[in-house]
Structure formats: structure tokens, C-alpha cells
Symmetry: C2
Subunit: 298 residues, 2 copies
Amino acid sequence: MSLFFMLAAAAASPVAKPVPSAGEIVAASPAADWQTIAPQDLLVMDLASDAAGRPRRVVIQLMPPPFSQGWVGNIRKLAGAHWWDGLSVYRVQDNWVSQWGDGEGEDKSKAKPLPAGLAKVPQEQYVSPARVMSSQSQPSRDAYAPSTGYFEGWPIAYSTKSSWPVHCYGSIGVARDNPPDSGTGAELYAVIGHAPRQLDRNLAVVGRVIEGMQHLSSLPRGPAPMGVYANVEERTPIVALHPATEVPDLPRYEYLSTTSGSFDRYAEASANHREPFYVQPAGGIDICNLKVPVRRKK
Amino acid sequence: MSLFFMLAAAAASPVAKPVPSAGEIVAASPAADWQTIAPQDLLVMDLASDAAGRPRRVVIQLMPPPFSQGWVGNIRKLAGAHWWDGLSVYRVQDNWVSQWGDGEGEDKSKAKPLPAGLAKVPQEQYVSPARVMSSQSQPSRDAYAPSTGYFEGWPIAYSTKSSWPVHCYGSIGVARDNPPDSGTGAELYAVIGHAPRQLDRNLAVVGRVIEGMQHLSSLPRGPAPMGVYANVEERTPIVALHPATEVPDLPRYEYLSTTSGSFDRYAEASANHREPFYVQPAGGIDICNLKVPVRRKK
């Protein structure tokens, strides 16, 4: 059994001191380089237990301003109203998305009424008119945007005039119909395959999964082409989706500040792997492969 | 229920003829633009049926020359000897790989003996010294290589002097230990997440899944950090992995020739979505998002 990427600990050498790997840089980073995620910015989705009775908890972090805030506000209202409780993950399409919300929503006679006060959010909110900058840039070439970087721990793409959040593995977005302002935030998807960057600026990225991603990515796929389950029994029930502030036993989470020196070194080491396993470092890394480290706070 | 990407059929318009979408271009492409895949280049992996008794068949296409042929030769021998029959998928790591072979291989007293005559393949075979060119290039910017394109239906990266196959969703590679010539082809992985392009030129890409990918991507994840199942009962048994020439009921498969005009138009439409759903085409697409269409022959 060959476990590639189970890298051997760098052997002590009398000649040269081993260069730390990306993982070693993250592990050795000082506590001051980590930013606590406010529980107010987290949601907790508890899916029905799996066939073996194991719980399936998905922890979601919401996108910060200035991005997608119309939809994020709607999602806070929906979670506060426990609108998703009793609904389901009704669509899982391979190398694409798992989607949840009201599986009966297209039939107006069966659709679950939405809470009052949700905003109609215009397509202009897919992009921030400000060119939000962090002090770290991500210099690798990108097929979809003039440049990419990080803002408060989130992967972002830029043009000379604007910036927008990108679709990576684990990103959460707002499903919609053809009119670009038709998504409320009630129907959400998480990316479970190769980053569908063609969706950037076409759908609202509103958050990401920071724990429990495997509970969305390992669900049985629905039939092609859309992944909608043929039978409602195949859907995965959502027991509850609530604001994290209602979950007393939830751990605290933190991310490696994307303006820290540790993140800089982590990015450099990720683009230029020097571990003994590698024979040819790439010299670059795309924005979705350079994942911002997130962990439970000790 | 909002099913984004369930695009409405383009409405007949008295003003402008709708531009065909990428999917419509593929569907309308002439039969002459499709290349049959020789059954000699296919393997069939039958996993144990799922909990509901449904069969799980994975169809694998092997990499053509000039790439990775030392390992491909070993894999043909292993399949011909039915070496994988009765072994398992023993490792599933989220956003990374599903890996199969001998789950007891690291314990020499329990390891299944390999068939005689497997080649020791040198790391030089990770890259072809020839700059293999197809007539189609993929002009979008790439974070990992000077340029990318397609060769006989496969995504390839190039430098000025060489070329190599890339790791995309569904790509199959040869697991190994630290020495770059330590992989035989007996332990294989399929990519089940965002393309781990940092592995290009560091591991041998030997094939891809052309049907049944969901049977590898939806398996329960093993525990972090490596995804190896804690209990052998959690492994997914391989009933048989055989050359396709031994499977009489197998459909024939074909791919859209990457030197055809249809593929050119498909690539252009994929980089510049004009369907009514899109409000902002990207103007580019990365090599792993522009998937080469593969289908059953009618």
C-alpha cells in the first residue's frame, strides 16, 4: 500500500537544514497569526444521521462584507427562522454541487412559504465595485480573472476596478433561475468537485464549509444530467440548520490570517513543494488549491 | 427549487438567432468528429454492489503513448492477471483521491504477490521529452505550466521542450512511496476533488474514469489526514478488474476529437458562456474544466 503524500518526516541531515513544508509552516505558526471566526458568522447544519447512526454536522462560515451581503442577510433570517429544518439535500450532481432547500419548491401548491422580509438582491451584488485588497496577492496565473488574492481569509478575484468571491471546492452559493436576481438564499449549493470558476460573477458566493464537508461530498449522486433524486426517499433530511449562537457545544474556529507572514510562507511553500516526495515543483498554484487553513481553536 | 444550470431552451427570437451553447455544439457535432476508443485501451472495475444492491461498474481508459507507458504496460499485465480481483478501495480522502489495490500491501507478510515481469519505471517517464502537439491549443492562462492543450483527447501541459499529462477530476495515477520509481501501477488513485495539479510531473497519470466516476467519488471518506479506513470492513471490495476485451456486454465508447472543429467551437463556447443564465462570461477556462466529451457509441 503506497500512501503518496504521507510524507516522511524530514531526516536530520548534517549538510543542510530541511526547508519546512507548507503543513509544517502552518503547524508552527504563532497564535497571533490566527484570527478567530465570530460565532455570529457561522451556521450549523445537522443532517440526519448516516446509515450507521453517525451524526452528520456541517459547519458553514458566511461571507463577510463587502461581498454578497444582500443574500447573506436573507440567509441569516432564514436560519434564524429555522426555515430549513425538516427540508433536505435534494440534488447531488457529480463533480458539481450538492444542493439543499425546499425539494418541493417548484410546485407552488407544495412550496414551503418563505419568512417575511427577505430582500430582492440585484445582480450588481455579484461583484464589489471596490477593488478590495489584502496585503497578500496570489501571483499565479489564472484562467478566469486578471488577478487573484485573499481578503480576510477568503479567496478573491480582481480586475482593475472590482473584486468578487470565487467558487472553490466547499464554496457555498445561491441557486437561482434564469433572472439573475431570482435567488433568495433559500436554495443553496456547495461545490463538491473541480472549482466551477465559470460561475464566478454569475451566482452569489455566500459562504464556505469549514467542517463536515464530507457529509455533502460523499452523498449518493442523483441521476444525470442534474443530479436531482428520482425518489424523495433518496433525499438527505436536514434535521436543523441554525445560527451557531444557538449551539452551545460548538467549538470555536480560527483561520490563518491571510495578511500574516505565516500565510505568505505557506503560500510560497505550496507553490514550490520541496518535500522529498516531490521531484518537480510547479512554481505556481491556483487560487482554489491554496486553501486558507481553518481549524478548531485549542 | 432553483436548479441553476438547468438552462432554458433558447427561445425562438425574431431578432437574433441564438448562439449554440457548449452542450448544443457537442450534441450537434457530426459523427465524423468522434473517435472510437479501442476496447484494448479500456479496463472495467466492478466494485461490490452498494447497500441497495445496485451494481457499481467503473470504466477506465488507459493513457496513450507517448505518456506513462511503462506503468500502463504494468497495469495491462496486472489486469490480465486479475491481480486486483478480491482487493479493495482502501483509502478515500475528501477533496483528494480514492485509492485502490492491496490494503495489506505495507505488511510484507500479508501483501499479495505481484505478477512476474512488471517493469521498474524511471521518473523520466513522468514527462515526454517530445513536445507533443495537437492542432488545438488551450490559450487560457495556467498556474502550473507555460501552456496547456489536448493530445488525442487528453488534457496535456507543455513547456518549450516537453509535455506531460495533467491531474484533473477523474484522472487516474500511480501511487508510490518517496522514491519516484517506487510505483508499479498496482496501487492506483482517482482524483475526486479539485484538480491537484501540483502532482503533475511528480506522479504518473495513467488513465481516467470515463463512466461510473460516482462510484469512486461518493464513497465514505476515511478519517483525516490520509483517508485510510480505520477498519477493513469499511473498504469497498473489488469484485473484478479486467481488460474490457473480457467483458462481452460492454458498450463501445467514443470521444469528441480534440482536433475537430466541433471541439474548437465547444471550447470557445465553454470559455464564453452566452446562454441566458449567464450575465458575465469568464473569457477563459482552465484545462481541467474543459472536459473532453466522452459518450457511449450509439
